[in-house]
Subunit: 199 residues, 2 copies
């Protein structure tokens, strides 16, 4: 595994740029600027894209400090990532609080069911990892009980339920802050032979 | 339903801005610019965000021409959306070809399993809609057979399998161009009473 030296200040600058880019994405999805302004801003965004593309970093390998920063769900340096900030719950399991955005819309005013599935897949994987059984998703089942709103905080929780050999199962859910369950998930994860052991 | 007048040129300008913003996101996730440049670009992105935020459009209602343009999976005017471009297959079913990006990474070099789940949820819903049975996802099961690479085209297909009352089922998959199936999905969709009838 090759570890490039990345300073804390570079990490912070990458996180800040990704976060500001998320705000730009929100503004793009909501703007009512006139055509001339849309075209002018597009040209400015193109110029910034070219500035950033002049130096391109190598893809980070597993275990590299930058790897999870680029992750599609939790990557602080990845503008596509919401990002979900997951904490370990004392006694077991994982938890995240998140405010989804208009960008995540499926049905009008509501979070896209696919976005709920996306974040639950990751959360269940982290729950399995937290139990020392890191693995990739083999199967995932999502049950949609009620619509998930955006613009207000919802709570995501998950926990490892059992393991057999290289297989592990986890359950998780998205709920309102009062505990009302909106979406439930259960997943089977398999530890690949090439994965670093976590427990 | 209120229909605001949006010209073709505004649609085109919004699509172009969203597409350029996606390229910026790709560049942000891959840049190796130094700290000073990262900070300078962040400030420029902030200024563009403020320009776009000066005029904010109302949220689009179901059936509005802008509604699907903002969708998290297929929305051409939504930078978060990949976006998947879905076509109807003569004789039934739907199909999309897509090149996922580094932004969609989960395991190193591979598309995040949650991203696969996200796009399959939408694709199955469209397959149900194409059969005149539009609905929201009630449950979704994903089976991960092999890793999905990014940077190369993959093929997504789905078809409605049956309906009973307001319930409809659909199957779908992500495959290599040679037909090798990588991810399979099956979903149950329920037509809400408030949905516009499509068939």
């Amino acid at each position: 595994m090759s570890i490039e030296v990345t300073s804390d200040s570079t990490h912070a600058a990458l996180r800040a740029l990704a976060e500001q880019t998320r705000e730009l994405m929100d503004a793009v999805a909501a703007t009512d600027a006139d055509d001339a302004e849309l075209i002018a801003v597009t040209e400015e965004v193109r110029a910034l894209t070219e500035r950033l593309a002049r130096a391109r970093r190598a893809k980070a390998e597993v275990g590299h400090p930058r790897w999870l920063m680029g992750n599609a769900v939790v990557g602080a340096a990845n503008p596509f990532a919401p990002p979900i900030e997951i904490e370990h719950v004392p006694g077991g399991g994982v938890r995240a609080e998140h405010v989804f955005r208009r960008l995540h819309e499926g049905p009008p005013g509501l979070v896209h069911g696919g976005v709920s599935a996306m974040v639950l897949d990751h959360l269940l994987g982290v729950a399995v990892g937290a139990a020392g059984r890191a693995g990739l998703t083999a199967s995932l089942t999502i049950a949609y009980r009620a619509p998930v709103p955006y613009g207000v905080p919802v709570v995501l929780t998950a926990e490892h339920t059992r393991s057999e050999g290289r297989k592990s199962w986890a359950d998780g859910r998205i709920a309102h802050q009062d505990g009302t369950v909106l979406v439930e998930a259960t997943g089977l994860f398999v530890t690949p032979t090439w994965f670093p052991r976590t427990g």
